[in-house]
């Protein structure tokens, strides 16, 4: 039910959108609302397990189940999705107007957004690791189009490509990890894997690979640089992908595999380290950013660092904390992104330095986003407070160092959240806002209200987090959150972190130079630099390979022949079956056959010596005819008939083609018009061609010789086919093989013939008209 609703949303929207572009936002809202309702219903009712075979020979099944983790993330994907879609209904027309694009471009936006939502729901409910990989890749593809939505801007291209390469490239790690598990335990099913897995080196490798995929998607250090770049996307995309969906998918993956990850101490420690580094890097950089969305992007990196830390801490508290954290963060961060979009829409300003004092003019937005920011900063009376309580509890359990790190991390959050909210809404007004549609403010207010409601009555969220945590660590979990007015460690840590955060916010001038220096150091030697360099080098390599290949027809042919020859040759040399290459006995009865083959060989050699195209065509057809005679001597009239016919047809067509050649090509060696090489260069090139031809041809000769010297393996199949021919109601074996035994091959071949026809006719027709 949920799956159907979620999967159907995107195609519905796309179809109706193309039909009636003006209705697209309404349709998107309705379909998303249905999906959200279905997710809620799935939470309340016990959703059945969906299980059917997909690729039985490989043991891949289509298995979906809506467990606690699935409920939590699909509620996020559809719920935040709903808020974002409603917001987009107000935002997209304005955005498209700014960018001078037709309103019907919004169809593409909504379609991909909902495709993303559908893939996300599929991802979180899938119980087969191959299926998880599939949906994982769909989210990467959808995000590529969403981030690159403003395709007239060059920075969008760069951003989309970076996100695609980082998250899509790391998806390969997921695939490898899953394949290692399959190899080890013989199944792709997650449930079976969890039941079977034991600590081992292979498991650790697989889990590190899976974790790398998750960390890259969650924009953790050192893969974090794609996220700030991705801020080139329209604001609703940032709000959705970078709060509730894409980055959440990363930590989801780690949660999903956490029963397996828990078996590998190294992976847990890796998560812990990367989490804390990400908190630090993201937090410090967030303190230095001026552009609103950049600040929020770095804050996201830092916030997901928390979640990764908690998953690394593991256990009941870690799992519960991570789930609670994801919910609270998604609520507040999407609200903050939407606020940034609304503010920019109202004032035209994108950076903190151009904003301020909007509290009076936009009170609803200020209060809504204030609640969200307070939630993120974990102030009491918001749902966010409990996320930090759980975080502190999990850290406290682990020891002093982790606790201190946790408190400083929370302090950083308070610091940059103060900076964001006070920077936008307090102080002197720097630019006057226009009025904006309620569609832009409404979702923010709703999200803020939920944040406050969650702070006063945390029961629903903690229950949700509880079932999600149960699914995460695969054992019962009791999550209980409430306000305690005593001096337990969590409370002390919370008070300290809030106080430290406020101090941080008030003493901007003291640490600003240090943070800026750190940020500059990061851009100088950070992973982004390495990414850019690698990309640049790869691009140059590919360009130079391309240039060699397309220089002329000869180099194009040689780029195929030479690697093929070398690879085949390497294979032959590696196999060392040289005794295959023996010369059989010669019988006088074989004389006619031998003569034909000799004629064919002579003709073939002659073809390499002739210069004139016409004689080359004639000599080649001579090869064909003598081979046809050889076939008939072998007692294969079917093949001989076809060979003669084809040879005739193609020789005649060849002649026809030759009359179409430009005259200068027809005489002598083909000159390259672009290079016009000197005689020395030309003979050089000819020598090179000869060497390539000898290598490719020589190895092809050796392989063919070897294969023909051991005919036994093929005879058995042929005998079967001869025996079965009467059963197929036939007498002519060749025809029966073509139409029945190997019918599928024939099908493929005639499809190729039809496609070739299409190509030839397009080519000749275009040439004729030009």
């Amino acid at each position: 039910m949920l799956l159907v609703a979620a999967f159907a949303a995107a195609p519905c929207t796309a179809v109706i959108g193309f039909w009636r572009p003006s209705r697209v936002s309404a349709v998107a809202i309705i379909t998303t609302a249905i999906a959200f309702a279905a997710a809620l219903w799935g939470w309340a009712a016990d959703a059945p397990r969906l299980d059917s075979a997909w690729a039985p020979t490989w043991g891949i099944r289509i298995t979906f189940q809506l467990d606690g983790l699935g409920v939590l993330y699909s509620l996020l994907a559809t719920g935040i999705g709903l808020a974002v879609v409603i917001y987009s209904a107000g935002y997209m027309p304005l955005h498209l107007h700014h960018e001078d694009r037709p309103p019907k471009d919004a169809v593409r936006f909504f379609s991909f957004l909902l495709l993303f939502m559908g893939a996300m729901v599929g991802l979180v409910t899938a119980r087969d690791s191959m299926l998880i990989f599939l949906f994982w890749d769909i989210t990467a593809i959808a995000s590529f189009f969403l981030i690159g939505y403003d395709n007239q801007k060059p920075e969008s291209h760069v951003a989309a490509m970076t996100a695609m390469l980082v998250t899509g490239g790391s998806a390969i790690c997921l695939l490898i990890g899953v394949s290692i598990l399959q190899h080890q335990y013989g199944t792709y099913s997650l449930d079976a894997l969890i039941a079977a897995a034991e600590p081992s080196r292979e498991l650790t490798i697989a889990m590190v690979l899976v974790a790398v995929a998750g960390l890259a998607k969650s924009a953790q250090v050192p893969f974090h640089f794609w996220l700030p770049r991705a801020m080139a996307a329209p604001t609703p995309v940032s709000a959705y992908l970078h709060s509730a969906a894409m980055v959440a998918a990363g930590v989801f993956l780690i949660s999903r595999f956490s029963p397996l990850i828990a078996l590998s101490e190294e992976t847990l420690n890796l998560l812990l380290v990367i989490g804390f580094v990400s908190i630090g890097v993201g937090g410090v950089l967030a303190l230095t950013r001026d552009v609103l969305k950049q600040l929020l992007a770095y804050s996201t990196i830092s916030q997901y660092g928390y979640v990764v830390v908690m998953l690394g801490l593991g256990g009941e508290k870690g799992a519960a904390g991570a789930s609670f954290y994801v919910v609270a963060h998604a609520l507040s961060k999407s609200a903050l992104f939407l606020t940034a979009g609304a503010v920019t829409e109202a004032t035209g300003q994108k950076a903190l330095s151009g904003l301020g004092g909007l509290l009076r003019r936009m009170p609803a937005l200020a209060l809504g986003s204030g609640a969200a920011a307070a939630g993120l900063a974990a102030l009491p009376l918001t749902a966010g407070f409990f996320k930090d309580e759980l975080f502190f509890a999990a850290a406290h359990e682990r020891g002093r160092i982790v606790s201190i790190l946790a408190v400083s991390a929370a302090a950083l959050t308070v610091g940059y959240m103060c900076r964001f909210w006070f920077g936008v809404f307090a102080g002197p007004m720097r630019s006057a806002p226009k009025t904006v549609t309620p569609l832009l403010v409404g979702p923010v207010v709703v999200l803020g209200v939920i944040m406050i409601a969650g702070g006063i009555w945390p029961e629903p969220i903690s229950r949700l987090a509880g079932i999600a945590a149960e699914a995460t660590i695969n054992q019962p979990v009791h999550v209980h959150v409430a306000y305690y007015f005593d001096t337990r460690a969590e409370n002390v840590m919370a008070i300290v972190s809030i106080a430290a955060g406020l101090t941080l916010a008030l003493t901007v001038s003291l640490w600003r130079p240090i943070a800026t220096f750190a940020a500059r150091l990061g851009t100088r030697i950070g992973p982004q630099v390495w990414y850019d360099r690698t990309l640049f080098a790869l691009n140059r390599l590919s360009d130079s390979a391309h240039r060699i290949e397309v220089r002329d027809l000869r180099s194009r042919v040689s780029t195929i022949l030479l690697p093929a020859g070398i690879l085949v040759g390497a294979g032959t040399l590696a196999e060392r079956n040289f005794d295959e290459l023996r010369v059989g006995s010669f019988d006088l009865a074989d004389l006619p056959l031998t003569m034909m083959v000799v004629i064919a060989a002579v003709a073939a050699v002659t073809a390499t010596l002739t210069v004139n195209h016409l004689s080359m065509a004639l000599v080649l057809s001579g090869v064909g005819y003598s081979l046809a005679v050889a076939y008939s001597l072998f007692g294969a009239p079917d093949v001989a008939l076809v060979a003669v016919l084809i040879e005739t047809l193609f020789t005649l067509l060849f002649f026809g083609m030759l009359t179409l050649m430009p005259d200068e090509v027809d005489h002598g060696y083909i000159q390259q018009p672009d290079s016009t090489p000197g005689p020395a260069r030309q003979s050089n090139r000819r020598n090179r061609d000869r060497i390539i031809a000898v290598i490719a041809g020589g190895f092809a000769f050796i392989v063919t010789w070897g294969v023909l010297s051991r005919p036994t393996a093929f005879e058995s199949v042929t005998n079967d086919q001869i025996a079965l021919t009467p059963a197929a109601h036939g007498k002519d074996i060749v025809t029966v093989i073509l139409a029945d035994f190997r019918g599928l091959d024939t099908m493929g071949e005639i499809t190729v013939v039809a496609i070739a026809f299409l190509g030839i006719s397009t080519l000749l027709r275009r040439w004729r008209t030009s």
Binding site: I646, T735, A739, L744, S761, W767
Partner: protein, 148 residues
């Protein structure tokens, strides 16, 4: 460039060529030859017409005008034979009647789905070859500036 004799002979040769092609096709399952060779034989017959009469005259033959459509129809038939069994719950390309089932004979022709597939192959090959001949012939006409 062609004499009267060549033209008459060429024109007279077309019906027998078609007949031979047809025979190769229907006897495919019993004797040498199949849809593929039948298609090539008939295309060679058509090619002869092009050589003798030039493309303008040869274009009047219905088979030349319909060539692309024949290829598409042939591909459709072959696809149908391949994938309709899947809809009926069989494997891809299950031929009817199956082994040990009774086959209806019309003379030496056996009524089989495999035979229908062979007809599909025949049509694709014929459509391809004739279509390409036609395209090349027209290109040559354009280049030499003559429609004959």
């Amino acid at each position: 460039m062609t004499t009267e004799v060549t033209r008459v002979v060429t024109r007279l040769l077309l019906p027998p060529t078609a007949m031979v092609a047809f025979a190769i096709l229907v006897k495919g399952y019993v004797d040498t030859g199949d849809g593929f060779s039948a298609g090539v034989v008939l295309s060679l017959g058509i090619l002869l017409q092009f050589l003798a009469f030039g493309s303008t005259v040869a274009d009047r033959l219905p088979i030349v005008r319909l060539a692309p459509r024949l290829a598409v129809i042939g591909l459709g038939i072959a696809l149908a034979v391949t994938f309709v069994p899947v809809l009926l719950g069989d494997d891809v390309m299950t031929h009817r009647p199956g082994p040990d089932e009774k086959v209806i004979h019309i003379g030496s022709v056996e009524v089989l789905t495999a035979f229908a597939f062979d007809i599909g192959v025949f049509l694709v090959v014929l459509g391809f070859a004739v279509g390409v001949i036609d395209l090349v012939a027209h290109s040559i006409d354009r280049r030499t500036g003559a429609g004959q």
